[in-house]
Every structure is written in C-alpha cells, then in structure tokens.
Amino acid sequence: MGKKVWEIMNPKIEIISADASVYYAIERLIDKRIRSLLVLPRDEKDDYGVVTVRNIVFKVLAKNKDPHTVKIGEICSKPLITVSKDTPVEELLELMERNNIARIFVREKNKIIGVVSFFDIMHHILIERAKK
C-alpha cells in the first residue's frame, strides 16, 4: 500500500463531553449519521475516550438503563488506541485486527487530529487497486 495514515485519515472529528448524557450522544450520532464520538478528557490528567453505537446498545439500551441519566463518561471506552500520522497504513490495519476495533484515532503531540475507519481503509485499497 505504501501510504501513511495522514493521507487517508478523516480530519473531521465529532466530539462530546464526558458529562453529556447518552441520549444527547444518540441524537448526535443519528443527526450526523456516524457511529462514534470522541470523548473529551475531563481534565489535564484524563485521556480521550470513544463512545460507539456498540457501547450505547450493550451498556445502556439492552440493559434497560435510562439514556437521559447515564453519562457518557460511564460507558465510553478508554484508553483510546491511537497512532501517529506517519504510521504506515499496513501497521494501522494490523493494529485494528489485533485489537478488534473498527476505528483508530490519529494523535499529534497530545491532540487528536483525525480518525481512520474501516471505510477509509476500504476506499484506500480500492483506489490503489484501480491505479494498478
């Protein structure tokens, strides 16, 4: 493949506060037609997290918990698995397979600058195949 993560990543990231309600996250996911939100750290010592549709379904809705009262910070996945923008796409793919995750965030210094999902990788592979 030969490309680096920054060449295929999506720089548009939807964020949410750890104190927001799960219901608010559901509204955002539906409105934006996305499957995950980046959860902001509560303070300087805290790290980023991610909340996905999977978290919401298994940890809240399937357990009949009230999405209006459960906070994002209680159900989000932490720590976030991140890569640097210069990581080769092959390495990223291995990391996704090893950790069984559908997206990886891209970190520069201590800031999240993008995200790569399976869709981005599929697009990348199809484009590279078409160029051959």
Binding site: K12, H123, L126, I127, R129, A130, K131, K132
Partner: protein
C-alpha cells in the same frame, strides 16, 4: 470481440493512440494546476492554457478521424461524447486557473489545504480514468476503476461542504470578489464531476459493446 471492434484498423489505432494522448495531456494539466496551488506561482498557470490548446488540436483530429470512417457507425457518437466530456474537464481546469490569478491570496491561505486536497484527488481520478480507458480496450476490469472514481468523487463532495462553510464565513463586500471566489470553487469541484461522467460513459460503452 471488443478489441476487434475497437482496435480494428489503422484509423481505429490512430484514434486510440490519440485518446490516450488526450487523457495524458489532461493529467499533465491537472498536475500543473496542483503545482500552481502549492507554489502560488500565478505565472505557472499559463501551462494549463498551453496544454489546453494542445488538447484542443488533438480533439479535433480525433473527431475528424472518427467521421472519416473509423469504428462502426453506432460506436462513433459514443466516442465523440466521451471526448466532449473530457473537453469540458479541460474547460473547467482553464476557468479554475484563470480565476486563481485574481483570487485574493490572503483568502486563499485560509482554504489552501482543502483546495490542494481537491487538486490531489482530481489528479488521482484522472490517473484512474486513463487506466479505465486502457481497460475498455483490453476488456479488463473497468467496473473496479469506475467504483474507485465514484469513491474519489464522494471524497471531493465532502471537502466541498467544508469549503462552502469556510467561504460563507467571509463577508463579501465587492461583487467581483464574490464572483471570482464562486467561479473558482465551482470550476475546481466541477472537474471531478466531469471525470466521473467520463468514467460512467466508458462503463456504459463497455456494457453496450459486450
């Protein structure tokens, strides 16, 4: 069969070679436009005019050779239409380069990343279009190329949305400045639309010849 229909005689071979050249010139013009954006060197934009003139000569030659009797009559209009779509991409490139000369450079700095990204994807699409044409001739997998071009076009649509949001934040105080920005962006994103149309046309041509 397809190869026989398309590559039959002398005239057909001449047209195919000219179309390949025509598409290669499009690629060079797109590369030139990308470099103009990166270097912000307005003088370099003239290379697009030169390449467009060269392509125009080639287009006339292709069309006249077609009607000299190359290809079966029912294929001729299809090939002419394909060439006309690519010609529109040249027009969009030319407009884009022309408008860039008058674009406020301070404003360009704010949209530079998105503009260069679009120019890169346009170039990638053109590279795939060249492969797609080769696939048509060789009866290869044109469908995969067509899909890749659609993926690229979707990416450009997404960038266009971000770009529009940024542009709307700018207060336009002068009619000509507004017209210039609008026409620049319009032409830039139109290139990918036209490449997608050209690729779709090749795909239809491929299916109709089976």
């Amino acid at each position: 069969m397809l190869e026989k229909i398309l590559k039959g005689g002398k005239l057909e071979k001449k047209i195919i070679a000219n179309i390949k050249n025509y598409l290669n010139i499009l690629y060079s013009a797109m590369e030139c436009l990308k470099n103009v954006f990166i270097t912000k060197d307005i003088e370099r934009a003239h290379c697009i005019d030169n390449l467009e003139r060269e392509a125009d000569l080639l287009r006339r030659e292709i069309v006249s050779t077609i009607y000299e009797g190359a290809f079966l009559p029912y294929i001729r209009p299809n090939i002419s239409t394909f060439i006309e779509i690519v010609e529109k991409a040249f027009d969009a490139l030319k407009t884009c380069a022309f408008e860039f000369r008058y674009l406020n450079k301070e404003f360009f700095e704010k949209i530079k990343d998105e503009v260069i990204k679009i120019a890169e994807i346009n170039l990638e699409m053109c590279e795939i279009l060249i492969k797609a044409f080769q696939c048509l001739i060789e009866e290869n997998n044109l469908r995969e190329r067509n899909l890749a071009i659609r993926i690229c076009e979707k990416k450009i649509d997404e960038i266009k949305q971000d770009l529009t949001q940024k542009i709307r934040q700018r207060e336009i105080v002068n009619f000509w400045e507004g017209k210039n920005i609008s026409e620049f962006i319009e032409a830039l994103v139109k290139i990918s639309d036209l490449i997608e149309d050209a690729s779709d046309y090749l795909y239809i041509l491929d299916i109709s010849l089976r």
